[in-house]
């Protein structure tokens, strides 16, 4: 227990955690962009005018959230 605490208090471990977090977040942003693209393609096939605004805005919010998390983590962590 003490050893683990000692390891995580180490800056090296925290730095590695930051890098891993940033890499995962970046991959996640790419994934969300793929989802966004796929939603747009599907909307070209079936366009429901009642719901299209909602669907698009949700994915945009998710992408903005992921990007802002990435940038904030880059600076703060």
């Amino acid at each position: 227990m003490e050893i683990i605490n000692l390891l995580f208090s180490n800056n090296l471990i925290l730095g590695l955690t930051k890098v891993a977090f940033l890499a995962t977040d970046l991959m996640f942003v790419f994934f969300l962009i793929v989802v966004f693209r796929q939603v747009n393609l599907m909307r070209a096939i079936v366009n429901d005018t009642n719901d299209s605004l909602f669907l698009k805005s949700v994915i945009i919010v998710l992408i903005i959230g992921a990007v802002s998390l990435f940038l904030t983590a880059l600076v703060i962590l």
Binding site: I4, I45, V46, D48, N50, G65
Partner: protein, 226 residues
């Protein structure tokens, strides 16, 4: 020997002819076997899974005189699994915080790291919800007055759009098996097409008997009319 069965009514020589309605092209194309309140085009909402004469929905390459008569998604109850999983995962961090005593004994992370992990965790959960929702949302089957369109969309990277004309449809049937399907009234609708065309399958369609009835009514009608 006494007569057992005696016909009481006089039989007519002329067979009964079904009533045929003249084609009224000025009349808008709507389903006839619907209730009065269903006949008017209705605005579909986000969670619609079965709609007659939906309004505000357009399909790619839709012709000018083509009207969507029936709009089917998988029954809403089929989403239960991922909704349940999502709720569990959404409640997991607060429950863990309340009932599990970490006490800083296991791993001591700085608080800013924990906040970032938590935000990222919730971002993943909301993305999971969104992806599952659009997978259900874009799995649509349409019956128009000209053709039947089946859009299969799964796993974000697979999509299959199958189209057949109403004139090529030979038969429509459905299978509804199991207690859950019977209780929530949904089942698989099968549309058999002529020749080498593949058959259509509307998986977990709500009100399958109604859907089959409508499709069978449309078979053999020119542009969905009498």
């Amino acid at each position: 020997m006494p007569d057992i069965f005696v016909a009481t009514d006089k039989q007519t020589d002329t067979p009964i002819q079904p009533e045929s309605k003249p084609l009224d092209l000025d009349k808008p194309l709507f389903l006839e076997n619907t209730n009065a309140e269903d006949v008017k085009p209705q605005k579909s909402h986000l969670f619609s899974s079965f709609y007659k004469n939906p309004r505000g929905i357009f399909v790619k390459n839709q012709e000018k005189d083509e009207k969507i008569l029936l709009f089917i998604r998988r029954a809403m109850v089929t989403n239960f699994k991922w909704i349940f999983v999502s709720i569990i995962f959404l409640l997991l961090p607060p429950l863990a915080y309340l009932f599990v005593n970490f006490g800083g004994q296991i791993i001591s992370f700085p608080i800013r790291y924990i906040i970032f992990f938590l935000l990222f965790y919730y971002l993943i959960i909301f993305s999971y919800i969104y992806v599952n929702f659009i997978t259900w949302y874009f799995n649509i089957s349409f019956v128009t007055n000209i053709r039947v369109i089946d859009i299969d969309f799964s796993g974000l990277i697979y999509k299959n759009v199958a189209v057949t004309k109403l004139s090529l449809i030979q038969d429509a049937s459905f299978i509804q098996s199991g207690a859950v399907r019977t209780f929530f009234d949904y089942g698989d609708v099968y549309i058999q097409t002529a020749g080498t065309h593949s058959n259509f399958e509307f998986e977990a369609a709500p009100q399958p008997a109604n859907a089959v009835h409508i499709i069978n009514d449309l078979i053999g009608k020119k542009n969905g009319n009498h």
